[in-house]
Subunit: 247 residues, 2 copies
Amino acid sequence: MTAADSGPDGGLVVLPVRGVPEVRAADDLAALLVTAAAADPGVGGLRDGDVLVVTQKVVSKAEDRLVAVDPDDPLSHKPLVEHESVRILRRRGDLIISETKHGFVCANAGIDLSNIERGWAALLPVDPDRSARRLRDGIRGKAGVTLAVIVSDTFGRAWRRGVTDVAIGCAGIAAVVDLRGTTDAMGRELQVTEIAVVDELTAAADLVMGKATNVAAAVIRGVDPSWFREGSVRDEIVRSPAEDLFR
Amino acid sequence: MTAADSGPDGGLVVLPVRGVPEVRAADDLAALLVTAAAADPGVGGLRDGDVLVVTQKVVSKAEDRLVAVDPDDPLSHKPLVEHESVRILRRRGDLIISETKHGFVCANAGIDLSNIERGWAALLPVDPDRSARRLRDGIRGKAGVTLAVIVSDTFGRAWRRGVTDVAIGCAGIAAVVDLRGTTDAMGRELQVTEIAVVDELTAAADLVMGKATNVAAAVIRGVDPSWFREGSVRDEIVRSPAEDLFR
């Protein structure tokens, strides 16, 4: 695989972006990502039409969403969980499943302590769609490329064991691609086909990011150009309590 | 992107397998997939270390899981939904969310009518892990390659709009990769990191399959070799009602 691959012939390429340094509050994350992608020979720089998936952790660090917690108390972030939630759905032992201010339903309001310096907890970005738009605009300004940005986080699922990465914010790409009304291969109208492509792209990115190797971003090449429009996780993915059957 | 790409340098390649013909009951699906992958220049044949994702629809057709329904009654498959379910969780209008005999929680027991001839409905395979093992073994016998097979289906999510593809069966690959006890980049033990890699791989595959273009399979190259062990969606992903907070 070389930097010349752009995913023709209906295929995709998913590449880790290595070498993003430890991110600090007020760092210019767009500049760090542009530099790391240019220096990584597997990526060969960011390009028009790329989808850049960035983990919540580095976005929260750059946006100074770190809060001091008691390093000797493993439950010291629990008051933060309640503060960041608008509704507690379930508790079991130390686990809290809640609805965050953004409308996400997840464990511990998306707050965790891994890959953060001891004594600190990282909150989710205040508005992850806006975080994605800022990164997209910053990268366009610095590198002159028009790409899509997704901010990812790791969530559990109600009915399935194991976690997967999902999108919490996006810019420059549809969150959901609606195939309702198009026909299937039998010429009959398709039924339920609102595909959450940002979540599928984010899941694909996680496969190359690992959890302990400090890869904070991935690039996906070859994505269907018709998906590149202004999208929003909040507007397209977040399900309101009124339409949800399980809250 | 050429057939010589095998996803080095930490990256993945995701390729549609085009040219799988319309599948009929008792067709040798393994042979059809081997032939289509060999004839598709983007794929260049199946190889050792590939992950082959195959949609439930063609697996169900090959396993003769089709049931006749009244073509003029759009709700004629609803009695099938109840028959294939062990527990109805929610009803809203025509929508039924239930737990299937396999333990999957999904809409309409995984039964749908799209991409099926009019007057027929496709049930899920009886044992999708076994379906995946059969395909894996059949491909090994015919093409002499050792690869992993995932059977995919399209499910909704409790808390998020839009559907994504998830794994309903797998063979030759871990369903969940457990990183508990490994350390993060700060040298601290990671907390919740049981990653449902089969679901992330399946989501990645869906990005190249489309819904109406008759692409029934995709190949993923460059997958971490340590994930290739005998896995099971039923044993690793299906959450028992006892440990689930929302049933």
